[in-house]
């Protein structure tokens, strides 16, 4: 299984993703330059964090139009798994591959800290190595990670089981106090309806090495490596 890690000008978690995937998760990952248009030979697309195109205008607004994103759209349309982390999540929302948008954190500051996440569903190819209700300790690092969607979208996300991760407290409760950025319904990560596109604000690649305090991020990478079969 081969992972493509996209590199936009301004991506800065690309090297971390490749390192975590290759050196720790035991996967095989390689870079794909934003001017490239082919994803042939790759099984999973990772859109890493950073500040693509400086995040000028809005986070992810310009990256959405880059050449490689056309291929990502086709890759996703044909059912290929795509995971967007942090800036990658923002790019996926801007591209319309995921519903909603990510806006400025409620407290207005950039926040870099560990957070707890509750796995809302493991019936996805991004979380199948986890147990529903399990809490994961994975860091965030963003200034614009407050998830917004209108009521109708939120209802359908909920109804379809598209919310995969919610910010929660140590007991696994999605409380206000455990919500670092003001996200609607404590949403930290969602998938698309088809189930093959996933965006999340926390950085699983930063939670793979025990020396960094947590290995819970591996749950997500291992899920992807395991592949996914429709539960019967």
């Amino acid at each position: 299984m081969k992972f493509a890690v996209l590199r936009f000008p301004g991506s800065n978690c690309d090297q971390d993703c490749v390192y975590a995937l290759n050196a720790i998760a035991g996967a095989s990952a390689d870079y794909v330059w934003h001017k490239d248009t082919s994803l042939a030979g790759f099984d999973v697309v990772v859109i890493p964090g950073g500040f693509s195109y400086g995040d000028y205008l809005r986070c992810g607004a310009i990256a959405r139009f880059s050449p490689v994103m056309q291929s990502v759209r086709e890759f996703a349309a044909s059912g290929g798994p795509v995971i967007g982390i942090c800036n990658g999540f923002q790019i996926l929302c801007e591209s319309g591959l995921l519903p909603g948008a990510l806006v400025r954190n409620r407290g207005l500051h950039f926040l870099c800290q560990h957070v707890r996440l509750r796995v809302e569903s493991n019936a996805s190819r991004f979380t199948n190595a986890a147990v529903p209700g399990q809490t994961l300790n994975i860091p965030i690092a963003h200034g614009e990670g407050c998830y917004f969607a209108d009521e109708e979208t939120l209802r359908s996300l909920q109804a379809n089981g598209q919310v995969l991760l919610r910010y929660c407290d140590a007991q696994g409760r999605p409380t206000e106090a455990a919500n670092p950025n003001g996200s609607r319904d404590n949403i930290a990560g969602i998938r698309n309806e088809a189930g093959n596109v996933f965006g999340l604000m926390p950085h699983p690649e930063r939670a793979c090495d025990p020396l960094l305090g947590s290995t819970d991020g591996l749950a997500i990478f291992h899920s992807l490596m395991k592949g996914w079969t429709q539960p019967s």
Binding site: R58, V103, D150
Partner: protein, 90 residues
């Protein structure tokens, strides 16, 4: 008007695009600004909203529908923002 850069485009037009957060979207920046304005002595204010102002110099006329497309798809995000577009003579 002594700036030579401005003179270059005096003949042309300008597009002004204002982008404001939709009323239903949390605008913590606006709320913080409201707080600061009250602190500054202007107590009686209603809501404050903060958005973007994009000024584009246009040396020659452009297709309005293209301009609107750019304002809608690139300069704003319709999920969270409304835009207004105005073409003025520079």
């Amino acid at each position: 008007m002594s700036n030579p850069l401005r003179n270059e485009t005096l003949a042309g037009m300008k597009v002004l695009v204002t982008v404001l957060p939709k009323p239903s979207v949390l605008d913590p920046q606006g709320a913080a600004a409201a707080e600061a304005i009250r602190h500054h002595g202007l107590e009686k204010i209603g809501r404050v909203r903060i958005g973007k102002m994009i000024e584009i110099e246009l040396p020659e006329a452009a297709d309005e529908s293209l301009l609107h497309e750019i304002a809608r798809d690139l300069l704003s995000n319709p999920v969270i923002e409304d835009y207004e577009l105005k073409v003025v003579n520079a």
